[in-house]
């Protein structure tokens, strides 16, 4: 049973329990518990997330409920259940996104076809469009947007401020979940996200929407305002630090993304299983692959790891038993009736159908 992405069911103790093994990984324990209760391991693993699904991590309170043991005992026996402190995830994520967008812009100088860029980077086409220079729809949206209030938050603003102050590194998702669970409000995630972003950008000003812009948009605005301006003035104007302003003004100095190893050791013995599944059914979903790995191959691997590997495999040309034929149309003569992808700031470019 789900409501607004948050599960409202109360897990109950499973009928058959298994013993705890000190130092065991949670995924391994959940697997043993599922097998003892004749459940598919992937099913129980997804059930223990909140909201239930393969993406989220195991929630200690749900695991405590299905085992009938206190959380403290589970964490003591399985230290991996200890919640990891949040270390500025948003900043890292923004930086990662900025580096990615820079790479997309560079590639777009050679080839502006959105669909080909989408295939090359393994990203959705709206993300490619967002990354490309020109009329950024996100920027345009915020440029014409007036500051607005959220009356629904009036009664809970104090509690929200307290949550933000208590844990500056808390994710917006966790703040929203706490809010709707503790205060019985029906505020949407987007509303809370806007509010938290505003407060974090301007702790004393909860009315401005200036800092709802993304990191990339912020850099664009800094560059636009940079003519004749001092770094300190720009930093104060955009509520950011000097280093960010400097980085925005000297875009070339942005540190390059450290090349990641594509050989994830977790997938060492699973790679050929995944390849086999993709070969036998090119349209197989990531969720299906993950479930089969967990259920049939006793894998203790996260959904995200499988998703990343599959995305990488799919965007790289792989030798297939029956390769699909890709026809690149003549771009100088767009075919009438063919689907086209409109690129912001450029003329319509015909793309090929999938």
């Amino acid at each position: 049973m789900k409501s607004r992405g948050i599960s409202i069911d109360q897990p109950r103790r499973l009928p058959i329990q298994v013993c705890l093994r000190p130092g065991e990984m949670p995924d391994s324990f959940v697997r043993r518990l599922a097998i003892a209760n004749h459940l598919r391991p992937s099913y129980l693993r997804s059930y223990l997330a909140d909201p239930p699904g393969p993406l989220a991590s195991i929630q200690n309170w749900r695991l405590a409920a299905v085992t009938g043991r206190p959380e403290e005992e589970l964490i003591r026996v399985m230290p991996a259940l200890q919640p990891t402190p949040v270390t500025e995830p948003s900043r890292r994520r923004v930086k990662k996104q900025f580096d990615l967008f820079a790479a997309i812009r560079k590639a777009a100088e050679q080839d502006v076809d959105v669909q080909r860029l989408s295939t090359h980077f393994g990203l959705r086409r709206p993300t490619i469009i967002k990354a490309l220079p020109g009329q950024d729809p996100t920027t345009a949206r915020f440029a014409n947007r007036r500051p607005h209030h959220h009356p629904i938050l009036e009664d809970v603003a104090d509690y929200l401020d307290q949550l933000i102050a208590d844990n500056p590194g808390a994710t917006i998702w966790s703040i929203w979940k706490k809010l709707i669970q503790k205060r019985q409000t029906t505020a949407g995630y987007g509303t809370v996200r806007d509010y938290v972003n505003r407060v974090r950008a301007h702790p004393g000003d909860t009315k401005s929407v200036r800092h709802l812009v993304s990191r990339a948009d912020l850099f664009t605005k800094i560059r636009d305002e940079a003519v004749g301006g001092l770094t300190s003035r720009l930093a104060a104007q955009f509520s950011t630090d000097h280093a960010t302003v400097t980085r925005a003004l000297t875009g070339e100095d942005t540190p390059r993304k450290r090349p990641q190893s594509k050989q994830n050791p977790v997938l060492k013995d699973l790679r050929h299983h995944i390849d086999k599944m993709i070969d036998s059914d090119p349209d197989v979903t990531v969720a299906t692959i993950w479930e089969r790995l967990v259920d049939q191959h006793h894998a203790e691997v996260s959904y995200a790891t499988v998703r990343d590997y599959v995305a990488r495999e799919r965007r790289q040309p792989r030798p297939r038993a029956k390769p699909s034929t890709i026809t690149i149309p003549d771009q100088s003569k767009p075919r009438s009736g063919a689907p086209s992808v409109r690129h912001p700031g450029a003329n319509a470019i015909p793309g090929q159908a999938r």
Binding site: R12, P15, I16, N37, L39, Y43
Partner: protein, 347 residues
């Protein structure tokens, strides 16, 4: 004494929290709570001790008596004894059977004690199993479920999973649920599955027929005795048609009905009267009113229990501390019994 009685009345059973979510038979926690519960009859204080109670003690004493009268005792009627005997006999018959297991159907009109008989059978079987296998306290020897209205095969499988505490989400398909239920039942040595309100399955509909087939499939997979209870099962179509004939060939039936006016009826009233904890009640009052009570309740044990429990609670609340014919006249029972009292047929 008052303190001890209060603690026994309001305390938790078998370490389970005393909240409403466990006050149901259709979950494993609730069922275990029911099986572990031992009815505690509060002692009746003598008049001097009763008068000496201060405000708090008086309140606690009355609460204990009200709780006792709200439950009263389960009287082992002939129907309950018959259901338990037949259920035990069938469970022994089925213990070594590999297929074609026999079952039991308890059928009758409302207020005749079907659910009570079923629950008492389950409780008896669970106690016997615990004595037989004290080394396996985690076993689930008895399952009790209620047939949902307009039941489908998936709903029936989900009911069994819900009793066991197995997680069922919208993603779970019926095959997964059935496999989990059968696997857990085998591991937990389930020997008796009670299915109440079986009249909610109608073999004249496609879903009803499929649900009946699902129950049959469960009976083949799980080495347990199935006991059904429902309203007038033979008239509701569960035994008609090809599927119904198969059920009729495997299941024996015990019919419940109204008590005839006689020794058993009088003995039933006497047992209930002996369990009353009222200070001014004259013993023998209710047994002397057996004819009146039979006419007022139509011989239905459900209506009789409700009438006497209501009158006892009313006597404690009002402070009269006695049940008389006049006080019984003031009690509104169920609509069916009221119609019988006034000579009108309901609806």
């Amino acid at each position: 004494m008052v303190t001890a009685t209060t603690a026994a009345t309001t305390g938790s059973y078998a370490g389970l929290p005393d909240d409403d979510q466990h006050r149901q038979l259709t979950t494993l926690e609730g069922w275990r709570r029911y099986v572990d519960s031992v009815p505690v009859v509060p002692d009746l204080l003598d008049r001097q001790a009763w008068k000496r109670l201060d405000g708090d003690q008086q309140f606690a004493y009355d609460e204990a008596r009200l709780a006792h009268h709200a439950r009263l005792l389960v009287v082992a009627t002939s129907t309950i004894r018959k259901v338990i005997t037949e259920g035990r006999r069938l469970s022994y018959l089925n213990r070594y059977a590999v297929s074609g297991r026999c079952g039991l159907i308890v059928s009758g009109v409302a207020r005749t004690g079907k659910t009570t008989s079923l629950a008492q059978l389950g409780k008896t079987m669970e106690v016997i199993h615990r004595r037989r296998r004290p080394e396996s306290p985690q076993d689930i020897p008895v399952i009790y479920i209620t047939t949902p209205p307009a039941a489908t095969p998936r709903m029936m499988a989900v009911e069994l999973a819900r009793f066991l505490g197995l997680p069922v989400t919208t993603r779970a398909n019926i095959t997964d649920v059935i496999e989990a239920v059968c696997g857990v039942c085998l591991d937990a040595r389930t020997g008796l599955i009670c299915v109440d309100e079986i009249h909610n399955i109608s073999l004249t509909t496609r879903h009803g027929a499929e649900t009946s087939d699902t129950l049959k499939y469960f009976s083949e997979r799980i080495p347990a005795t199935f006991v059904y209870a429902g309203l007038n099962v033979e008239r509701e179509g569960l035994l008609s048609g090809t599927r119904g004939q198969q059920i009729a060939g495997r299941f024996s039936m015990i019919r419940t009905g109204a008590f005839p006016r006689g020794d058993e009826w009088t003995a039933l009233i006497a047992t209930l009267e002996n369990s009353l904890r009222l200070h001014a009640h004259t013993p023998g009052t209710l047994t002397g009113l057996d004819v009146y009570l039979h006419q007022g309740t139509n011989g239905m044990i459900g209506s009789l229990l409700r009438l006497i429990r209501s009158a006892a609670i009313q006597a404690v609340i009002e402070g009269s501390e006695r049940i008389t014919r006049a006080s019984l006249d003031d009690i509104e029972i169920d609509v069916a019994a009221e119609s019988a009292r006034t000579g009108n047929r309901p609806g």
